[in-house]
């Protein structure tokens, strides 16, 4: 069977075979409810605890700092709304290029008396430090800045940003779902710098959909988003999703083991890909910033991104235009808009995000396919003009 090359790992990743093997027993033979006191339940509890330890070890956090949720969106909602509910309304500052599951909860809080300030970014997607310093003067009670952006791959220096925010005295959160397995993560170091909470997600790092975590400094007081039963130290009720949590544990462990080797390999492929893109006349976004080794975000003049990804799909390459989660939305990317990219260029945006399974051969084939496709589309545009 023909199988397209999957170049959309920032949307979701294939499950690592070792993760699947670890998960399967917890579906059928070892199916207990982790809250049950009999042997089936205790076995499930041990599995959840072990996964908690694996995840903590992978990001150098303490197991008691891990709060399991159903996904990264929930973890981000839990932090922002949960912390806000424990505070008197004040200023909440979020990066302008955050994922909608940070931006939208902030908008919700605006309806509850909070002032929301979007932190500006420069043309390369990096937080504008002057704007940030100005925001800090107003002493935000909550700050959320993602470690790496899902569209551009731009990596923010969250340790430095959190450190600068220390004097302001608020809680600092970072969405790190795009980082696990792509860069080393050390929550202790981040925490010492002033990061109080961090979101991780299994399915962006070779694990299953349906499990994620909020890594949380225990000084932060949170109201739960989901009540009923008091699971996860009362921060998140509901029967634990044991198989997915077990899969998350293994995925996190493997991610930490492989990150050094993998990021080198991804970087080599990225260099190859981007030199090809430049040769074909693409504009690559955020190249001046520090970026994830797997993400390339680009546009060709006068070529619509949607059209291009549709053609590439037929050529056997799965890539994205804009972020997967909001792909239903035809508006040009809010990330590029925040970076000051003109809408007519932003509409051409295509994202390639590589993963462990990709090869240099696929990159070569992709460049060849892109050359043909772009050539044809530009030919059409020329005729139309």
């Amino acid at each position: 069977m023909f199988r397209p090359a999957y170049l959309d790992h920032n949307a979701t990743t294939p499950l690592d075979p070792a993760v699947l093997t670890a998960m399967l027993p917890w579906l059928e033979s070892q199916f207990g409810n982790a809250s049950s006191r009999h042997e089936f339940g205790r076995a499930a509890r041990r599995a959840v605890d072990e996964a908690r330890q694996q995840i903590a070890a992978a990001v150098n956090a303490h197991p008691t700092e891990i709060v399991f949720t159903s996904g990264g969106s929930e973890a981000n909602n839990l932090f922002l709304k949960g912390a806000a509910a424990s505070l008197k309304p004040g200023l909440i500052a979020v990066g302008a290029t955050e994922h909608p599951c940070v931006l939208k909860p902030a908008v919700q809080l605006a309806g509850q008396g909070w002032q929301v300030r979007q932190l500006a970014v420069d043309g390369a997607g990096r937080l504008d430090l002057a704007d940030y310093a100005e925001a800090l003067l107003v002493k935000p009670k909550l700050i959320s800045v993602m470690t790496a952006n899902n569209e551009t791959g731009v990596v923010q220096d969250v340790a430095a940003l959190a450190s600068a925010a220390k004097a302001a005295g608020g809680w600092f959160h970072t969405d790190a779902v795009q980082v696990l397995g792509k860069l080393p993560i050390d929550f202790r170091v981040l925490n010492a710098s002033g990061v109080h909470a961090m979101t991780l997600s299994a399915h962006k790092a070779g694990g299953p959909k349906g499990a994620a975590a909020l890594v949380l400094d225990k000084r932060v007081e949170l109201q739960p988003l989901i009540a009923g039963g008091g699971h996860e130290r009362g921060l998140r009720s509901g029967t634990e999703n044991v198989p997915a949590i077990v899969g998350f544990g293994i995925a996190a462990e493997l991610a930490a083991q492989r990150v050094a080797e993998l990021s080198l390999r991804l970087r080599a492929m990225q260099v190859k890909l981007e030199s090809g893109l430049v040769t074909l006349g693409a504009r690559i976004f955020a190249t001046e910033a520090s970026r994830l080794a797997n993400t390339s975000y680009f546009a060709f003049p006068d070529i619509d991104g949607e059209t291009l990804v549709g053609k590439l799909d037929r050529e056997g390459f799965a890539v994205a235009s804009g972020a997967a989660c909001s792909s239903a939305n035809p508006e040009p990317s809010h990330v590029l808009r925040a970076m000051g990219v003109a809408p007519e260029i932003a509409r051409g945006a295509v994202r390639v995000s590589l993963g462990a399974g990709n090869t240099e051969t696929e990159i070569n084939q992709f460049i060849n396919a892109l050359q043909l496709t772009v050539g044809r589309l530009q030919g059409l545009t020329a005729i139309a003009v």
Binding site: P4, D8, A11, T12, P14, L15, L20, L24, L27, E28, S29, F31, G32, N33, S35, S36, R37, H38, F40, G41, S70, G71, S73, E74, N76, N77, H99, P100, C101, K104, P105, V107, Q108, H203, P208, K209, G210, A211, L225, I226, A227, G228, G229, G230, S237, G238, T239, N241, A244, E306, D313, F317, A318, A320, S321, A324, C325, S326, S327, A328
Partner: protein, 403 residues
């Protein structure tokens, strides 16, 4: 026969092998994000999600457009109750009605709303665990915004009169939410007839995977909700977050199987339950908790008087059962459900919930009966209270001295 014997199907069920088989391809080759619109990985995942939505809707007589995916029944209950209460508080009022025997997911959610300025009425149930319709009717006020009543109780298995309650709510303009986590595959649910506005489901009590549930949100007349999780706008804005395709496929398949096999299965499981009941009934001083007629086929909840609950659990380790509901068994409080049925602390503590399921055999039931008879007999022999009871002393009149 393998020990321990699993008789705790109301806490959770194994994933049916047929369900697991359907799930695995969506963990492996079809791993796409259903929200990815630009390639076949996404389309394949999205098609599977929509097929499962139809399967879920099909079991309960709903339109697929009325099904919203969540992470489980607890989230569904939170979304339904907080979402509707907050959306309609301004127009309908801030009074909520629920029942003392509801699951914590409902009770804790209503408590949270109370802290935010809502008023709540927690209705008593009758001794048989059933809600008295007149009591329910009397509790409705002009400012009642929402009522939440579970379909099937998780501890005693009684089936509440949802159809009648729905009629009353519709007539009075009260939004009616039903937690049906324990009901799917156990009782017929037809939302085209029931006047229910919101209904919570989950997969892992019906031979599907953990981590997936759904909320039914009626379209005619349309019920609106304030979303509890914001982000990419998945599930028509009701619930943002990447959809876990394999779990959704599992929920669809387990609901499809439930529809197909429910009638047969309830007969078989009901016969095993009756066998268990018959085997235990001739023991002295054992009491069935909850109505036996309006009850799901797989549940039996019995109090063994003059037996201390914890010693009982230790003595019958070969049986994986619950004393009190799974979600609260970390605490040593007597079951609040049994207390609401009027059982005293001692009887509540000495109660065991047996929940039988698809993979239970007659051999296992017979083993359980023999084990219980032997162990309860032995524990009672050691019990001074049992001795006093046998001597004809009415323990309720005894004055206990503190030492």
């Amino acid at each position: 026969m393998k020990l321990p014997i699993y008789l705790d199907y109301s806490a959770t069920t194994p994933v049916d092998p047929r369900v697991a088989e359907k799930m695995i391809p969506y963990l492996c080759e079809h791993f796409g994000n259903p929200a990815s619109r630009s390639h076949s990985f996404g389309w394949v995942a999205d098609a599977a999600v929509e097929e499962a939505r139809e399967q879920v809707a099909d079991l309960v007589g709903a339109d697929p457009k009325e099904i919203v995916w969540t992470s489980g029944a607890t989230e569904s209950n939170n979304l339904a109750i907080k979402g509707a209460a907050n959306f309609y508080a301004g127009t309908k009022g801030k009074h909520i009605i629920t029942v003392k025997t509801e699951h914590k997911a409902v009770l804790d959610t209503v408590r949270e709303l109370e802290r935010q300025g809502f008023e709540a009425t927690y209705l008593d149930v009758q001794e048989n665990g059933l809600l008295d319709i007149e009591v329910f009717k009397a509790a409705i006020r002009p400012d009642t915004v929402l009522a939440s009543v579970m379909f099937v109780n998780n501890e005693v298995g009684v089936i509440q009169p949802i159809a009648e309650l729905g009629e009353i709510c519709r007539e009075k303009g009260v939004i009616f939410h039903v937690d049906a986590a324990q009901a799917t595959g156990k009782v017929d649910i037809d939302l085209s007839k029931l006047k229910v506005d919101l209904m919570s489901f989950c997969a892992h009590k019906t031979y599907g995977p953990k981590g997936i549930g759904a909320l039914y949100v009626r379209r005619k007349p349309r019920i609106r909700l304030e979303a509890q999780m914001h982000g990419g706008g998945h599930e028509r804005g009701f619930r943002s977050g990447t959809l876990p395709t394999h779990q959704i496929v599992g929920m669809g398949e387990c609901f499809r199987l439930a529809k197909e096999e429910m009638a047969e299965e309830n007969k078989r499981v009901g016969a095993l339950r009756d066998r268990l009941l018959k085997g235990l009934q001739d023991m002295e001083e054992t009491f069935v908790n909850g109505d036996l007629e309006h009850r799901v086929a797989h549940n039996l909840n019995i109090s063994f008087a003059y037996v201390e609950g914890e010693s009982m659990i230790m003595a019958i380790k070969d049986l994986a059962v619950s004393s009190g509901s799974a979600c609260t068994s970390a605490s040593l409080e007597p079951s609040y459900v049994l207390r609401a049925l009027g059982r005293n602390d001692e009887l509540a503590h000495s109660s065991i919930r047996f929940s039988i399921g698809r993979f239970t055999t007659q051999e296992e039931i017979d083993y359980a009966i023999n084990l219980l008879k032997a162990k309860v007999g032995k524990l009672r022999e050691l019990s001074p209270l049992w001795e006093m009871f046998k001597d004809g002393i009415d323990l309720s009149t005894v004055q206990w001295a503190a030492h």
